[in-house]
Amino acid sequence: MLKEDFVIQSNVRQILIRSNIDYSRITFGTVKGVVYLRGIFKSAFHHTDGSIESAADFTIKSLQSLEKKIKGIPGVIDIEFELTNWTKAGGQWIPKKKQEDG
């Protein structure tokens, strides 16, 4: 059964609040089961050794985890990411150049 957009939206909101993402930089919406996420993806904190590589790994894991959780909400058909600092190409998350990194 198709879940209502508001129910999906409330669940996305809850996922973002519970995550380690700085959600103040992200706007999100739901249209007929498609979830849209826009803005700057930034972790609120890093569990890394401080190097650029491990910070990027951590952000990729956070993005994958977020994607998985949102796809797990009943009624979600698809997710459209339009992030200013990360993009998905060929199923892989890659940082966008000359933008604020995650």
């Binding site: 508001f6 129910v7 409330s10 007929k32 849209y36 339009e82």
Partner: protein, 353 residues
């Protein structure tokens, strides 16, 4: 026993290690933002809770230097003076605040306590009476405590203790609330709930304690309790518009969209300039196939915030679904003007062009 020791014993900081850690965290934040009066006040409150009254005083004073009209900081500094029996300084603060906020019963109450402690019974009774006049809460409260009987203020040793407890509770409750919020921010929601519940128990008439408790319960996924706390907050302060929005989101998580709609409508009525609430109300209308009302709310959201792309996407899709191609194209084109690389919207536009 000196006053610092008395405060320490009264508050019995539950998690000394966590408490020290929180102090260090706030101190670090202050180093980054030395000009934030909020942080100075919060730090003062934490120090006061740990019994470090001298340091606390400096931070309250700094908060007031940064923002001379900061009510909470004035209140905390005044009570610190009461605690340390610096009556004249406390009186000066409370009198200034009473002049600033003539309808704030709590400063009248604070003055009443101060006069009572210093044996100025007549003045104490007058202030308590004024507190009752400006806020009905105090009439009920004093009546329950035996201070207000038959239209008169009754002061004796017993009621003196009762009144003193009210102001101690005020401070302790604020302390627990800050600790609770801090713990919640750090993801320690179970401990946060304990602190916030203590705050609400100490000062049951403070709506923000219930609101915070509701937020933490919602975070934990304990939705019935979250609803109860938001409702309590709204009962105390019916003008707390975001309370209705929070209730609506919790109902949404429980798939109770009828109640969610009712609450979101109230939230929008109370915060008409908040575009995000209108967006959520539009989703609720759209889910119920009330498309005209949904479009109305989305247009309103866009009038408030013309750069609200998600509202524009929803509006475009809504037009598209209703076969209003021209309007749908117009909305998609506007989105592409702002984000020309948006492939998803480009595909949508191509499909209906």
């Amino acid at each position: 026993m000196d006053s610092e020791e008395k405060t320490r014993r009264r508050l019995r900081v539950r998690w000394p290690r966590l408490y020290r850690w929180m102090l260090a965290e706030i101190e670090r934040e202050i180093e980054i933002h030395p000009g934030y009066a909020d942080l100075q006040n919060q730090f003062g409150l934490f120090l006061m809770g740990g019994g470090e009254l001298k340091k606390a005083e400096n931070h309250f004073r700094e908060a007031l230097r940064l923002n001379p009209k900061y009510r909470e900081a004035a209140l905390h500094l005044g009570f610190l003076y009461v605690e340390t029996e610096r009556w004249k300084e406390a009186e000066k603060i409370f009198l200034l605040e009473v002049r600033r906020h003539p309808k704030d019963g709590f400063f009248r109450h604070a003055l009443g306590i101060l006069y009572l402690q210093t044996g100025r019974l007549k003045e104490a009774a007058a202030q308590i009476q004024k507190a009752i006049q400006v806020h009905s809460y105090y009439r009920d409260h004093y009546r329950k405590k035996g201070v207000w009987q038959g239209g008169m203020v009754h002061l004796n040793q017993e009621t003196k203790g009762v009144l003193r407890r009210i102001h101690l509770n005020q401070h302790d409750a604020q302390f627990c609330n800050f600790v609770g919020l801090y713990l919640a921010r750090k993801g320690k929601s179970k401990q946060a709930v304990q602190e916030l519940r203590k705050a609400a128990r100490l000062k049951p008439d403070e709506f923000i304690f219930h609101a915070n408790l509701g937020t933490v319960y919602a975070y934990q996924g304990v939705y019935p309790k979250a609803i109860r706390e938001f409702q309590k907050a709204l009962k105390i302060d019916p003008s707390y518009g975001m309370g209705y929005a929070n209730l609506s989101f919790v109902y949404g998580l429980m798939c109770r969209t009828r109640e969610a709609l009712r609450c979101m409508k109230k939230a929008v009525r109370m915060n008409p300039q908040y575009a995000d609430l209108r967006y959520n109300l539009a989703l609720l209308y759209s889910d119920r196939k009330r498309y005209e009302e949904a479009a109305f709310e989305l247009k309103k959201a866009l009038r408030i915030n013309p750069g609200y792309l998600l509202a524009r996407i929803n509006l475009g899709v809504l037009y598209e679904d209703r076969g209003r191609w021209k309007e749908a194209r117009r909305e998609y084109r506007k989105i592409l003007q702002i984000t020309p690389k948006d492939e998803h919207i480009r595909r949508r536009l191509e499909r209906i062009s």
